[in-house]
Symmetry: C2
Subunit: 418 residues, 2 copies
Amino acid sequence: MDVQSYMHGVGRAARAASRALARADTAARNRALLAMADAIERESAVLLAANAEDLAAARAKGLEPALVDRLALTAKGVRDMAQGLREIVQLPDPIGEISGLAFRPSGIQVGRMRVPLGVVGIIYEARPNVTADAAGLCIKSGNAAILRGGSEAIRCNQALAACVHEGLRIAGLPETAVQVIETTDRAAVGELVTMKEYVDVIVPRGGKGLIERVSAEARIPVIKHLDGICHVYIDDRADLDKAIRIADNAKTQRYGTCNTMETLLVHADIAAAVLPPLAQIYAGKGVELRGCADARALVPAMTEATEQDWYTEYLAPILSVRIVDGLDAAIEHINTYGSQHTDAIVTEDFSRARRFLREIDSSSVMVNASTRFADGFEYGLGAEIGISTDKLHARGPVGLEGLTSLKFVVLGDGQIRT
Amino acid sequence: MDVQSYMHGVGRAARAASRALARADTAARNRALLAMADAIERESAVLLAANAEDLAAARAKGLEPALVDRLALTAKGVRDMAQGLREIVQLPDPIGEISGLAFRPSGIQVGRMRVPLGVVGIIYEARPNVTADAAGLCIKSGNAAILRGGSEAIRCNQALAACVHEGLRIAGLPETAVQVIETTDRAAVGELVTMKEYVDVIVPRGGKGLIERVSAEARIPVIKHLDGICHVYIDDRADLDKAIRIADNAKTQRYGTCNTMETLLVHADIAAAVLPPLAQIYAGKGVELRGCADARALVPAMTEATEQDWYTEYLAPILSVRIVDGLDAAIEHINTYGSQHTDAIVTEDFSRARRFLREIDSSSVMVNASTRFADGFEYGLGAEIGISTDKLHARGPVGLEGLTSLKFVVLGDGQIRT
């Protein structure tokens, strides 16, 4: 069978299964997740053996060691997957909730009901844990899922698919509610992201390259983020201790995450007080600083930042530093060079905090907190499908709610329009 | 200047203006709308003269009489435009509202703030009133707007643009917050719907041809609806009076609207009671009936419905009628042939009503009410940008809220992530 026919078959089955999922009650969906978790724990040895084969094949193919690392699954990793599914069970069911039901002058009652999107296509790279996680989030939110993992993880993903299907079967739900693509042919992705009639939203999870490829090809809405060029602005009315603590944490707690600070903006009047002690902390942690001329005058060890630096998501122990002459300049810098991901101000000034919250056009805007908090778990969403830097539908960390939409419900007693 | 350079200039100016709009307080935005309304009323003669020129040119070009009709503006039409703007002023300001602000275990407080999308591109056909209406809705919701009206209305739209700009000027807002495209070159639309860096969402308002063209070309999210294939299902536990009243109103109150019923589904056990009196009402209003074999057995005057009829949005005094053997068959029919716009059940059965509400995957799902209620004003949204049959972002009638999104705000006291 050619890839197009195969994918359209998958799409049709997913669409049919999505109707069964949308009808399934809370208990059935939770039962499926619990049965999946049990199957995954029971089949731990099988999953690890499949992963070992994937790893051997990856090494034989000469895959980069960093990618091989990400592919590796441990016994603890298997237990964590099962645990993750059990945690999703504990989340409130988003589906079916009716909000705002109110009478209108015509006598009808109008409200909104939260419903599944339908079919979610998830495209991801090596990590096999995404298979369990994505399946769990989609089923919990009443959606059918089509999962396309990295070709390097195909054996482990197929073994996980068997556990997922067992869970669905035990709960009396169609196994086609979660389909793991069986071909490693790249053309399958091209079909998945253009099958408008069968797929309602695409969620790419992985590096920038993957997300750019998927976005360019997709004819279906994509929930994605491309860049996390996050800023901390230290205002001259900042509390010095808070400023240093936040600027340290936002950069150094983890270097490779999208909510890590990449550019530090400092008010000119506080720069002499805050930059030298910060530079010392950064130096102690091996962070390279690239600064504007004014910043370099205060910290001579800084190299010179180029225009390109302000646009760069380093994902590494590198930080660009710029001294600005006030809030307006900070806002202008962030809205010009930022990626609308997460930006923070450190200030004790009430009105400036209010202005920053209002005028920074990013998915998360913070006052006196580290950008590292931009995360579904930290925000109380319970689980995270991804972080969106788009503005429509879901913005910022996307939890279960991002996989749902609201339809209008109208209740009447025979009302007609006149 | 070529069209691409012109449109990119428009886009850049809109993006810059959108920042000023996002900062503008409620009073300034309302002041702009009131000043626009005043200018429109004062310039009534100028607007009507411009419209007369448009009409003369349209007739000279041999435009269809129906289109010439839609282009025509009257003195009352001008007053209605001004009145429409004043009504938008009365709506609550959606921008800046923070919801759900709650403490998290880490000590940060997390909530969501409603913010403008940024730049809205609106593409519409002949009706000049859309110019005032769209400008008003965008400014009220803090968005910059790029308006591309039909080439037939270009003189009147330019005269309206002058009134809109006067309003913005009086309120101290940039005139570029609303730009009316000055060229009638079709290539301008192609640019508008692909300028991702400058435009956040496209709203096409017009016939299906326009919407299909825009959707096919767009590389920016589009808020749209294509078809309104709306159904009423009369259950065997329906109240007969309500059933007849609703089925009559849903079809005949207006024929050309997207929320008009196009297919009537009737439970076999109530068909003999409900179809003959309904057929008589429809016959009296000149509605042509196209039915399945069972329906035709009860109402011999019906012609035969083909498979294609179930997929058809007539927008005319034609109705397809099908007898089904129960709720499951009705749901199956609607989810197969419908356009996910608006569908209603007439029943006194509680559990069936509940199932219908849950299982019909449409933007509006109704119990014992006419589909004609699917409308922003009837739903209490105050004003309507359009009706969306897409599932992401806005679904169903789209009011001011559809032109906004939610960003996360995080308030702290120096919290860092550990």
